[in-house]
């Protein structure tokens, strides 16, 4: 029998495994439900008791991407043989497609605004965090606290002033305005998190790089950045998740050109009420980018959270 401080016994591992899998199942249930609803027909989606087993259909997705109108009786009477599959699908319900919906535009807005604001929050945050960590900044602690204090109220508390400012500056319903807003909100988070990560990196590595013939910026780029990468990646995920999911400001400040997906998805209304499969389909597609981004950076995220626990 041997004991190890760092290695868990197999019984502990089993217990931990069951706990993690159980927790994962519970948290993933709503996700599974949304994905499933996206593939249900409208009656199945609101059936009671809920249907676990159902006949899958892509109706919801077709509804999501198209605008439709009731099929006139003459058109219905003259069936066209080479209808595309999606048109046939909606015709079964007595509808016809008149054009694409706004979903892809809104989705694309979300991509631009979400990734754009994350990019700026990370670039500016890293620069500020490095400066705070390495240079003698007057009133450093006060400034850091001041930066954090912008997080002490819910951002929506300043919705009215921001709305007025945006209107005055002509930023209402613009991509630039939304990127600016989300960058500003995320910046405090990114400065703080990245500052912590950079503080963990001993300054000696940069000194070694200076001696090795590099300038200060090159030392930052070649030595600090790779070591802070995990921390920066996890910060980027947090920033993206906020900007991607943000709803209240998006409702308030965007309505057309720059509207993001969150305020758009609930407005998908089918004939005779809320089109739940289409809403679920929109939500499913909306989840994908953040999921892909998170999975891509997962390795960094896991290390980022435990960063600095033990290091030489």
């Amino acid at each position: 029998m041997s004991f190890s401080v760092t290695e868990a016994s197999s019984r502990q591992k089993w217990f931990a495994g069951i706990l993690v899998v159980g927790y994962a199942l519970i948290t993933m249930l709503p996700l599974v439900w949304i994905i499933a609803t996206g593939f249900k027909s409208s009656p199945d989606a609101i059936a009671y008791p809920p249907k676990i087993v159902f006949e899958p259909t892509v109706e919801g997705y077709v509804n999501l991407f198209t605008t439709q109108t009731r099929l006139s009786s003459e058109a219905a009477a003259t069936p066209d043989q080479d209808l595309p599959w999606y048109e046939s699908l909606v015709r079964e319900k007595g509808m016809t497609i008149v054009g694409p919906s706004r979903f892809s535009e809104r989705f694309f807005n979300s991509v631009i605004i979400g990734f754009g604001s994350t990019f700026f929050a990370i670039v500016l945050g890293t620069a500020a965090a490095y400066a705070f960590s390495r240079f003698k900044v007057p009133l450093k602690d006060d400034l850091l606290f001041f930066i954090l204090s912008t997080r002490m109220m819910p951002p929506i508390a300043v919705a009215i002033p921001i709305f007025l400012m945006f209107r005055y500056l002509g930023l209402n319903d613009t991509h630039a305005g939304m990127i600016l807003l989300y960058t500003a909100v995320n910046l405090s988070l990114s400065v703080w998190l990245i500052n912590g990560f950079i503080d963990e990196i001993p300054v000696e590595y940069e000194e070694a790089a200076l001696i090795d013939g590099y300038t200060r910026f090159q030392a930052f780029y070649k030595v600090v950045l790779p070591q802070a990468a995990t921390g920066i990646a996890s910060t980027a995920i947090f920033c993206l998740i906020f900007a991607w999911n943000e709803y209240a400001f998006a409702v308030l400040l965007t309505s057309g050109t720059a509207q993001t997906a969150p305020p758009f998805i609930p407005t998908i209304i089918g004939v005779g009420g809320q089109d739940w499969p289409a809403v679920a389909a929109g939500a499913t597609l909306f989840l994908l980018p953040v999921m892909v981004f998170t999975i891509l950076l997962r390795k960094h995220l896991l290390r980022g959270i435990t960063f600095g626990a033990v290091r030489k």
Partner: protein, 335 residues
Amino acid sequence: MAEVVLENVTKSFGDTVALDRVSMTIEDGSFVVLLGPTGAGKTTALRMVSGLDTPDSGDVLIGGRSMKGLMPAQRNVAMVFQQYSLYPHLTVRQNLEFPLKSPLLNTLQADIDRKINSVSEILQIKQKLDNKTTALSGGEMQRVAIGRALVRDPSIYLMDEPLSSLDAKLRADLRIELKSIQANSGATLLYVTHDQIEAMTMATHVGVLDNGRLVQFGSPREIYEDPVSIYAASRLGQPRINILPADVFEGSPAGAKLIGLRPEQIAQGEGEESFVTRVEHLGDQTRLHLSFKNHDLITVTDAHTELKSGDIVKIKPDKPFYFDASGDRFSGREK
């Protein structure tokens, strides 16, 4: 390679004076060892030359040029850090390549490979080249740190206790390697160590630092055989120099307050009686702990001595050092 001069360099950290008007000339091709206990300012002196820190006053000249306002990269110095500072995100090979690939040197890949090959051979780290530096032992890290300096051809090598983590054999090997590299290439070194053998065998000059002041600068033999103070005399010598009141022995000059006796300055078998309190057999030598008129003394005797504690040994000073009350060497003239 170049001559390096420190001119009245002073550096304080808050209330701590780390360097106090230090002036020193490190000649081109010389091997200067800095000695001093912990906190004496040795690392600070290296950082002044490297440009990682700048003097509060005074100046550093490399090759006759003032280094005021010059970044470390512009000074072309190589440094082995006391805490190694290997880049943890890079492999051993990438660490060694790092200075060669800098915009400063921008070396051709063929030259890089050749240099890394020869340096890793000397330092016996060839089989570790593709390891991450975080997966090395302390001694291996230290050798990579030395290697990162040795691949370069700087105006001066600055080394802060570069052999401290190595085992005795490797340390001896590398001591000889470093010395022969220096002798063959004419490299200039400023080297910090606590190790007497390193100081005595490698140095062309030794500087003794005491609380930021350079109290003596000269050849290792000069420091050993003609120390300016008790402090300087205590830096070298194993076992350490014995300091006793001058009047316990007859024949001390008037005015001398303290007498300093290295083991070889204690003649055994003649003079006055002392008691053996302890005998330590170290293999190649034997240390005798003596009690002489209620003063403790440590000296060295024949490795195979039959002496044991309780025995009586007669001792007599042989060309000892005399010091005045403040610990400075007694000049012979009465003040």
